[in-house]
Amino acid sequence: MTTLQTVFAKAKADNRAALVGYLPAGFPSKDGAIAAAAALVEAGCDVIEIGLPYSDPLLDGPTIQDAVHRALSNGTRIADVMRTVEGVAATGAATLVMTYWNPIDRYGAERFARDLANAGGVGTITPDLTPEESEPWRAASAAAGIDTVFLVAPSSTEQRIKAVVDCCTGFVYAASLMGVTGARETVNTAAEGLVARTRAHTDLPVCLGLGVGTGAQAAEVAAYADGVIVGSAFIRRLLDAPDEAAGRESAAALARDMAKGVRR
């Protein structure tokens, strides 16, 4: 199992940013998700976030909503998420689960943390769990030996940034913009400032996500962040392809471009 600490130490030693790819479990199919994530790892992703499909993804834009809807329609359950994590972790990438809070809450925090650790997962990203509500999850995660990643946003005050980073282990997820997930024409210029403000409060790696969709954008972000997070752009390639194999190849081509970007 590759830990986040190993990934970021290695990237730092190579004087580059890490590349983090997101795909929901169960999309484009249960097995197809594992194959697609493996292709992203092969193409240069250091870390994979496996999304847990949820019925009410209120921080996600149309691309991820579409993928998640398909995953739920083909009957994806938490057991499938764990199986996906197991398959992806076997490729050697550090593998996390990104999920809204309610599925963990309902499944049981301790049980979820334990099952994720047993599947080879190294942590979670929980975009709607605030520091005030995070204590039970941090305790369960610590007991299972997995990391907890939370988000800071351009609107975050210094006080909030401090509260969030104090709850994070592994890395801090900086949202580049005020908005939902989805590739954008340009990366928000406020993003660099947010990464700098976050660094003032923590020694943890700071990764930037939301709106990154090209190799050039990855290179731009890699200049100031420890990791570049890409989701919708990969999913768009999978959605637009005529079949799973073509989608996988198209997403991998983009990942190769991004992997070059983070090394520029």
Binding site: S55, L151, M178
Partner: protein
């Protein structure tokens, strides 16, 4: 209050204290409530909470709110005895609180006017809102027109169809109506889409949330703005009958009209509080909105509360003939009142609600909203339980003009 003829005091707005019924600093009613939202929204929620906290203790704010409630919304609303309808309630005395007589036709205007004033104090020029039956959307579009705010309403595509008249009203009032075509295409998905807009445009926009659900401070603030319903009714019942009612009945979707009707009575131990959820086609059909009666504790739309969800926390789509009750969550204060035993919640089927809808029209000449008809049907049952000596206050939360399409289909009119 310096304003002669005013109906509102600071105590009316925020309650009289020591019932222990305000949430804690994190917006928790016991286990329920709180904030489960993207970090990006926390500063905006903090700002709304701070501005509201200041406003509710500000005489100028209370004066403005009071003025709008009296001269624009048409408050106070009257009570109406409904003896012919009450014959079907075992002879119990049923008294309606006539929120249907407010401007725009439903209690929603109370909260909307309060939050519209908050929007001005936030210095924001744009409001967004979700709507189910369309009443909150109409009320928001109305207040936006009155105060010169840009207004965008998110409404499930299914609801747009069954409440087409309200879509037209909103457009006429100058609002942009965005039909939401993902998920169940009803209120739940309209709320998701409104949150997506808010997180994107939060610098310029206030999310004028329409019910006592959602993240803190919405459950508390919306309750306080809806609270006038019960405050007035309590005084009026004392004037009309010389005593407090034996029970207060209200329909519960998200729960704002019910909390508005209940809240002033929470300290009155002798007054039973009954909430009626939509049982749709019946509990066992699986097609219902029985969040409190058949749901489980979870997190939806930013708060811990009762939720209709499966064993892995996926939201289950609700069903009701009434768009305003067709919601798989509920306000956290109701969850708290349920667990504490202070309020009791029941289900009313589509057919029971439509029977009460028709009965009130034929016996009293009042066409209620289908939402409110759930409370009326509940009061008929409760009256038969409590007996002819009982007095029951029913919150008639809105009027049924918007429901003519549904009624025409249901009754083959």
């Amino acid at each position: 209050m310096a304003n002669e003829g005013s109906i509102l005091t600071a105590a009316d707005l925020v309650g009289n204290g020591p019932h222990g019924d305000d949430p804690d600093m994190h917006g928790k009613f016991g286990l329920f409530g709180g904030r489960f939202v993207p970090e990006a929204l926390i500063p905006a929620l903090d700002e709304v909470a701070a501005v509201y906290e200041k406003a509710k203790n500000d005489a100028e704010f209370l004066r403005e709110f009071d003025h709008l409630l009296r001269t624009y919304a048409g408050r106070p609303t009257t009570l109406t005895d409904v003896p012919r309808f009450g014959e079907q309630a075992g002879g119990a005395r049923l008294v309606l609180k006539r929120e249907d007589l407010t401007h725009t036709g439903a209690h929603k205007i109370n909260n909307v006017l309060g939050q519209a004033l908050i929007t001005k104090r936030l210095g924001k020029k744009r409001v967004i809102a979700e709507t189910g039956a369309g009443q909150h959307g109409v009320a928001t579009a109305t207040a936006a027109a009155l105060l010169g705010l840009e207004c965008v309403i998110y409404m499930g595509a299914v609801d747009c169809e069954r409440q087409a008249l309200n879509v037209a009203r909103m457009k006429l009032l100058g609002a942009t109506v965005v039909p939401v075509t993902n998920g169940s295409q009803t209120l739940k998905d309209a709320i998701n889409e409104a949150f997506r807009d808010w997180v994107t445009n939060v610098d310029t926009t206030h999310y004028l949330f329409g019910t006592v659900a959602g993240p803190h401070p919405f459950p508390e603030m919306v309750r306080d703005f809806a609270r006038i319903i019960g405050v007035e009714a309590r005084r009026q019942m004392l004037e009309l009958t010389g005593r407090l009612p034996d029970a207060v009945c209200a329909a519960v979707g998200g729960g704002s009209n019910a909390i508005g009707a209940f809240h002033a009575f929470i300290g009155d131990e002798g007054v039973q509080l009954h909430g009626y959820e939509a049982a749709g086609r019946g509990l066992h059909s699986g097609e219902h909105a029985l969040t409190l009666t058949a749901g489980s504790v979870g997190v939806l739309h930013g708060a811990r509360t009762y939720v209709l969800q499966d064993d892995e926390g996926q939201t289950i789509e609700s069903h009701s003939i009434s768009a305003g009750l067709d919601y798989p969550g509920v306000g956290p204060e109701h969850a708290w009142l349920k667990d504490s035993g202070r309020a009791t919640y029941h289900g009313i089927t589509d057919d029971e609600a439509m029977a009460a809808f028709s009965l009130l029209a034929r016996t009293e000449g009042i066409i209620p909203a289908i939402e409110s008809s759930h409370a009326l049907a509940g009061a008929l049952k409760l009256g038969r339980e409590l007996g002819p000596e009982a007095t029951i206050l029913v919150n008639l939360s809105g009027r049924g003009d918007k429901d003519m399409g549904t009624a025409m289909k249901y009754f083959n009119l």
